[in-house]
């Protein structure tokens, strides 16, 4: 086919043209009206891209809270706090269970007017960075502490006599309602805090990046990343704690206690029996806050947190112990990483003089100050705040399970958050009047119906984008946060008749290796990864740290230079190709592949 005479602007399908998977009919009822394209004027015209970076799988009704809070709060800083001259927020909708986004530009004529406000506001942050960030940590920790205090307990058969005596005149149901609203409110609060510094981190990075590309044409993106990336980051702390625990276990000769780490109680008892009191103390100390760490990304109700699933950290420790016994160096070579970063900075800087050297120092300094937040906030919000949130939601769900509303604590996620509030009223009303609540006869069948729809939606991968893309993608945050660039979009559009023995993406970490692929869609599959395999995933999460010591390279569908896969691979010296769009669906487990992290290319060699 060589019909290239008339250039046709290729398009993605319109939302209304996408086929609903069999069994998913009626899926719209799972989500609030304002998140549906059908109720949004012009949605069949605007360009939308799928944020499968943060939401790689379909939303359950309750889980839309993550998308709603995150993207709303992202927008508020661009639009209302910082007045970013060219960019407002990002409009978002759910279609067939996946989240789609459309950046909202500022009309050309309004841009100049925003500039002085923007500079005043951004200037305040950059000039008071450390003090404001300290304040931020206080605010976020304070919110989490409040969340931790919220309790959801079944109501007693009778009000305690003390309440009669004191004239309290309340039955305790108001606490459940209040705590539910408070939990939502506090989570929302930390999502607002989440974005307070995030866009600033990206702004400082963008400024240095643009400057570096100007004075060093063709400077590899990796080099810019290395010069501003933090080395001693809070996001690496949970993994570092496990490594230190493994080293300690070897020192104390406790290896044999880790025979079956799936048995958490048995393992801890075996350590106690082996005289590992010192180790256990260190293990206890590491849990707060570092085990508030999820194997997912914090956006799903099924995400498992180390604190509640200690077989996960214990399993990782077991694997680290094996590697220490094999004589491997498992602790992060922090000094070497710093030395390498400093070498890169110094070498580039030495090539500049005068004003350019001064500008290099100023811009790199600002980016190096501001950028680590982009990584670290992730621990505080996605891992810690959301870990507490999901734990509390489960606590509430157990109250319903006990009252016979549904069978499993995870069933609550099939209700949207308004419906949960209704169900609380239903529950406490039934309890108060002494007659059966409606929930137990309504929800089990309804949850089953929704589960069927959800499972059907999940059989289908999302379209990467919808409608006609603009000729140029210009919105800076879209490019930086999601790696949605003009080239990326064109590549998606050209994929159908492309070469199916290779996928291309971003050259995110250098090096070339060959090996067998291991395709992983969920954290639960991580235990399948064998030594020396190449990890192929839609996206990786920070908590996957321990497997980076096993694998030879990483390929992801989503993410750019600053995605977790890219950062961790650069730390471990592994090649990475990110943002391939279709790596995980093109490559299958067991295939021999060649990952070229210099060129951003993955070849399927056989199988």
């Amino acid at each position: 086919m060589t019909t290239t005479e008339t250039p046709i602007m290729k398009s993605f399908p319109k939302p209304s043209e996408l086929t609903v998977p069999d069994g998913a009919q009626g899926w719209e009822e799972l989500y609030p009206y304002h998140l549906l394209f059908a109720n949004s004027p012009g949605s069949d015209e605007k360009f939308w891209f799928c944020d499968s970076q943060h939401w790689p799988t379909v939303f359950k009704p309750f889980e839309t809270i993550g998308g709603e809070f995150a993207v709303k709060c992202l927008g508020q800083y661009n639009t209302r706090h910082l007045l970013i001259p060219p960019a407002n927020g990002i409009e978002f909708k759910i279609h067939l269970g996946y989240l789609y986004m459309s950046p909202v530009p500022v009309p050309e004529e309004e841009i100049p007017g925003r500039v002085p406000e923007f500079e005043k506001r951004v200037g305040h942050y950059f000039q008071n960075w450390d003090a404001l960030l300290d304040q931020w940590r206080e605010k976020v920790r304070g919110t989490i502490a409040e969340m931790e205090e919220l309790r959801f307990q079944p109501l007693p058969d009778k009000v305690p006599f003390d309440d009669i005596v004191s004239g309290k005149a309340k039955d305790g149901s108001e606490v459940i309602m209040e705590n539910y609203d408070r939990l939502i409110q506090l989570t929302y609060q930390n999502w607002q805090y989440h974005f307070e510094f995030l866009n600033l981190g990206y702004l400082a990075y963008l400024d240095f990046f643009t400057f570096a590309k100007q004075v060093f044409p063709n400077i590899p993106d990796q080099a810019v990343a290395k010069m501003v990336q933090g080395v001693d980051m809070e996001l690496f702390k949970p993994d570092d704690e496990l490594k230190q625990l493994a080293v300690k276990a070897v020192e104390l000769g406790l290896q044999s206690a880790f025979a079956d780490t799936d048995d958490v109680e048995g393992t801890l008892q075996a350590i106690r029996d082996a005289g590992g009191a010192e180790w256990l103390a260190q293990y206890e100390a590491a849990q707060d806050p570092w085990f508030n760490f999820t194997v997912g990304n914090g956006f799903y109700g099924h995400d498992k947190y180390w604190l509640e699933h200690q077989e996960i950290p214990l399993g990782y420790i077991k694997d680290y112990i094996r590697r220490v016994d094999d004589g491997q160096q498992i602790l992060r070579p922090v000094e070497a990483l710093i030395a390498e970063r400093d070498r890169i900075i110094e070498e580039y800087r030495s090539l500049l003089d005068g004003d350019n050297a001064a500008a290099f120092d100023a811009k790199r300094g600002l980016a190096a100050t501001a950028y680590p937040y982009v990584e670290n906030h992730n621990f505080y919000i996605e891992h810690w705040t959301m870990g507490v949130f999901w734990r509390k939601v489960r606590e509430l769900s157990r109250v319903f399970v006990q009252a016979g509303f549904w069978a499993d604590e995870a069933d609550l996620f099939y209700l949207n958050r308004g419906e949960v509030r209704d169900a609380i009223f239903d529950l406490v009303t039934g309890w108060a009047v002494g007659a059966p609540a409606s929930g137990p006869s309504y929800w089990p069948a309804e949850i089953e119906r929704r589960r069927t729809i959800f499972d059907a939606l999940n059989t289908q991968r999302p379209q990467p984008a919808l409608n006609t893309p603009p000729e140029q993608i210009t919105e800076p945050f879209t490019q930086m946060l999601w790696g949605i660039t003009t080239e990326q979009v064109q590549q998606w559009l050209s994929d159908d008749d492309g070469d199916d023995s290779a996928v291309t993406g971003m050259a995110a970490s250098p090096g070339v290796v060959e090996g067998r692929a291991r395709v992983v869609y969920h954290a639960d599959q991580l235990s399948e990864v064998q030594d020396g395999e190449i990890l192929v995933a839609t996206i990786t999460a920070p908590s996957w740290g321990p497997i980076f010591g096993k694998i030879k390279a990483t390929v992801t569908d989503i993410g750019g230079m600053m995605s977790h896969a890219a950062i961790v691979c650069r730390e471990y010296g592994l090649p990475a190709v990110t943002g391939t769009g279709n790596g995980s669906t093109t490559i299958t487990t067991g295939q021999l592949i060649r990952v070229d992290g210099n060129a951003g290319r993955v070849e399927i060699l056989e199988g």
Partner: protein, 356 residues
């Protein structure tokens, strides 16, 4: 003792007057521990003694005096006559012994006799302000003292090629004190070779290294007879930024039958692959950076991978000279942007810049 011969590893002061540009650089790089193939310089003192001791100086002067710079035929005729006179004259006996001794000493460093290159090292070439490279002759793959001795005189004679004479006339370079040294150097048995520059010649970006390389001895790259692989590396990260695989249709390799270099055709499957591995590119770039650091300014190097040496120790540096085009022409616009705006207005500029 005389100062006719200076071995590259003698620790001698790398003086331009005595050694010429190329040999001074080889001596200096050897002293800095760079992997330069062993050899020695036949110094300008040797040349002077040759032309003075044999009475050639006056002869040459007289011949050159007849030149009409605008008459190409006349320049050619005088050039031929001078060169013939030099090549016909044997070196003085006292020099002969010293030269032979130096050659034998070089050979004694190897198990078997190895071929050598005879390369010009003029005092007026390879200088920061004069792009005068390649004006004089180079002779490759010479075996035995007789061949070396003969080509030494040819090399001297090449100081008087028509091109060289014309160049000097046009640039008002006086003939009187003219002298040249000659490098006698162990010939690299190159599997691949080329040149590297420690900046991007396209825009003067000093954070890049550009490598041109092809199969076999590097002469065909230097003289432009093949289209080499062209690779742009980042100087700091040592990663490939961009590469273009050249056609590399021919290579110069030793011919066992004749004992000389022969130009042969490269098989199609070797033309389409890069002649250097990633590791070899990094080795070249690292060495180029070292040369740049040693001299304190952007360098233009020649290198070769010797097939007789093990991987990791087979990269040899044949030459390093200041990069003249960008260094003397001043930096182009791309490498010297207007002083960047500082403060938050530059952040605004970056943001708005992405709008276009």
């Amino acid at each position: 003792m005389n100062d006719y011969i200076v071995f590259f590893d003698s620790g001698h002061e790398p003086t331009l007057e005595l050694l010429g540009g190329k040999c001074a650089s080889l001596v200096s790089m050897t002293a800095a521990g760079m992997p330069v193939p062993p050899g020695f310089a036949v110094t300008t003192a040797a040349f002077d003694h040759f032309v003075d001791g044999t009475g050639l100086r006056a002869d040459i002067k007289a011949k050159l005096a007849e030149i009409d710079a605008d008459d190409v035929e006349c320049v050619d005729r005088v050039s031929a006559s001078v060169r013939e006179a030099i090549e016909a004259r044997d070196v003085p006996e006292d020099m002969h012994g010293v030269l032979h001794e130096a050659y034998d000493e070089l050979m004694s460093r190897f198990e078997d006799q190895v071929p050598v290159a005879v390369r010009s090292s003029a005092t007026a070439e390879d200088l920061p302000d004069a792009s005068f490279a390649g004006q004089q002759d180079t002779y490759l793959w010479l075996s035995g003292y007789e061949a070396v001795h003969e080509h030494l005189r040819r090399c001297w004679a090449s100081l008087y090629t028509s091109r060289a004479i014309t160049y000097r006339l046009k640039n008002n370079i006086p003939e009187d004190d003219l002298s040249m040294a000659v490098a006698i150097q162990k010939m690299v048995n190159a599997k691949a070779a080329g040149v590297a520059m420690t900046l991007d010649p396209a825009n003067g970006d000093r954070s890049k290294i550009v490598v041109d390389a092809s199969w076999g001895v590097g002469e065909m790259v230097v003289s432009g007879q093949v289209t080499p692989d062209n690779v742009l590396l980042d100087k700091v990260m040592l990663t490939v930024v961009r590469e273009k695989i050249g056609d590399k249709h021919a290579e110069l390799v030793p011919d066992p039958a004749s004992g000389e270099l022969a130009e042969i055709e490269v098989a199609p499957e070797r033309r389409s692959v890069r002649c250097l591995t990633d590791e070899e590119l990094v080795a070249v770039a690292t060495m180029a950076k070292r040369a740049e650091k040693h001299y304190g300014c952007p360098q233009d190097i020649e290198f070769a991978f010797d097939r007789d040496l093990p991987d990791g120790a087979n990269l040899l540096l044949l030459q390093s000279r200041p990069e003249t085009v960008h260094s003397s022409a001043g930096k182009p616009a791309e490498s010297t942007p207007a002083p960047a705006a500082t403060g938050f207005s530059s952040i605004t500029a970056s943001l708005l810049g992405t709008q276009h």
